[in-house]
Symmetry: C2
Subunit: 342 residues, 2 copies
């Protein structure tokens, strides 16, 4: 049975050959089903725009199968319940769901997370309290295993995950050095997120500047970028350093390597420095950290961790917001608000 | 105070520019000091010849500082005590020591390991019961973490460490696939060490043959080689696979990479397959495995693990044995017997 509401939805229109463009997305109008037992019908309010989506646009295996042409674009959202068939939720409740890039979504109630306004503002469920925050927290703690006094380096430091990684590492007593693109982003990373230093990877002296910022070497390198950014970090890694591999944004949108000896050199570092690398995605680590939501909400409340949102307004801004983030033009967590809560 | 004995010793004569040759080694005659309190004077009987030495011949950091020109060549040996100043050892005792490539050595008694003939033959202290065996055992168990039914792939499978890794993995109920150079070495790896299969990396269809031998993918890839051998294993790694990085013999002696995208491709696998890589050397893992000697001695005694020695005879054969091993001509653990026990 369909609902009287009309829904607009972004779909995957064509696979990018090199860099993603707006033409790779289509907009369709769909009918909405009535929620079946155990489902809720929600109106999306804030949509999350995440780099991993670009990885799903390649026609090759990533975490999950590649997006198929015509498929609805997935993503998390904070939404408001319109109709519920589940006693756990009522109309008007705010929830974090896998809502997709669309105006409305029908999802299982069991997969919805209640947004508790007493803990933080609703957007935080897409930021520090959501998948973004858990990726930073779980990856840093479970894989990076930082100890007080160690040096933690974070690439894409001005980004959604990177900015949180650095702030969490500061809470753990580490020296925190960011890597970001451009002097302005570096300045803001230090000022707003309290990094000890932030180095501009576009500067000609980038490898030397990174070495200068890490006089005691690097104990944890939180990898969001890959390519020449990680190539500069690698020789600075200390014995027994840990490298959580969270993302490789330099690869996602049409860039590629140029050094024929890069892999050999890299493996040599792994061996002689006895490094540990581990790729992960957020789902791998949830069970390790039942304390996450309370801990992070406490840090937010006490002002120890600061969220920065790169907030766009309007359903027509979803694709431009995504493309702008891929080009490194965003700072903090990119969100698009498409409706007001009622 | 010097001893009446004369000692012959191999020293590092010149740094190889590409491949190592005999001209890189010199032979000198030295006086021997009398052992001081807590030291023992030993006569070397069997010298161990190990690939890691080639890594120390480069003028760049490896596990330890590079060899300096004129420096004595290090290595483990099984030796017989000539004079002891320590009550723990008497003349005639067999010991495993850091004896170096020389006829006699004066070492600290506290660093000598007693060779117990009740457990195994003396050569085993340079093989399955020595650093070689512990490297295989500790690396596989602590880092590889194989579970029964999983597929373990070992490169340099006919070598000292690789042949033991495969046999230990078989004891743990795994399917074991080796990678080795040439059909003869592959055949012997299956016949003598009980591998389920062994694939020839020199064959033109090597990547396909490896895939065929691993119908359920790879859960543990024990890395001894690097380069195109690991490039073939990487795409076969299963989700959450583990890669103990023990050695990179393809790099040690003048070879290099050719694929400009190799590192990017590799990092992509680490991320999307959520791989764990960890470089290690044997010293990192000793404390994890106090059971090692008894367990391995039991396997040897019960015929569950077989040692194969590539035994050379005579002090003048030390350098040729090393060069031959680097060229992949050896099978099993390379040793040189330079004297008989008395």
């Amino acid at each position: 049975m369909t609902n009287a509401l009309k829904n607009r939805q972004y779909v995957f229109a064509a696979r990018p050959e090199d860099q993603a463009t707006a033409a790779r997305f289509g907009l369709v109008e769909t009918d909405l089903p009535e929620p079946e037992t155990g489902q809720i019908l929600c109106r999306n309010l804030w949509l999350s725009v995440d780099p991993y989506l670009r990885l799903k646009m390649h026609d090759r295996e990533s975490y999950t199968p590649p997006l198929q042409i015509g498929e609805a674009i997935p993503g998390t959202s904070v939404a408001q319940v319109v109709t519920s068939t589940d006693p756990a939720f009522q109309a008007g409740d705010l929830v974090a769901i896998a809502g997709g890039w669309q105006e409305y979504a029908v999802v299982k109630a069991s997969g919805a997370q209640r947004v508790d306004p007493a803990l933080s503002r609703p957007e935080s469920w897409l930021g520090a309290l959501g998948m973004t925050g858990f990726t930073a927290y779980g990856g840093l703690i479970s894989i990076g295993q930082p100890k007080a006094g160690e040096t933690v380096v974070v690439s894409a430091a001005g980004g959604a995950v990177g900015s949180l990684v650095g702030q969490i590492a500061r809470q753990m007593g580490c020296r925190v050095v960011g890597i970001a693109g451009g002097p302005e982003k570096c300045r803001r990373t230090v000022e707003r997120f309290g990094f000890d230093a932030c180095v501009d990877y576009r500067a000609t002296n980038f490898p030397e500047a990174l070495a200068d910022a890490c006089p005691n070497g690097i104990d944890v390198y939180f990898e969001n970028v890959g390519g020449r950014v990680s190539a500069a970090a690698m020789p600075l890694l200390n014995m027994f350093a840990r490298v959580p591999v969270c993302g490789l944004i330099s690869q996602y949108d049409g860039q590629s390597g140029t050094d024929p000896n890069a892999l050999e050199e890299f493996m040599r570092w792994v061996l002689v420095r006895r490094l540990t690398l581990r790729g992960f995605i957020v789902y791998d680590l949830y069970k390790n950290h039942p304390e996450f939501t309370q801990t992070m909400a406490g840090w937010l409340r006490d002002g120890k961790i600061r969220e920065e949102f790169n907030l766009h307004q309007g359903f027509d801004q979803v694709v431009p917001a995504f493309l702008s983030m891929l080009k490194g033009k965003s700072f903090g967590k990119t969100l698009v608000q498409i409706a007001e809560p009622v």
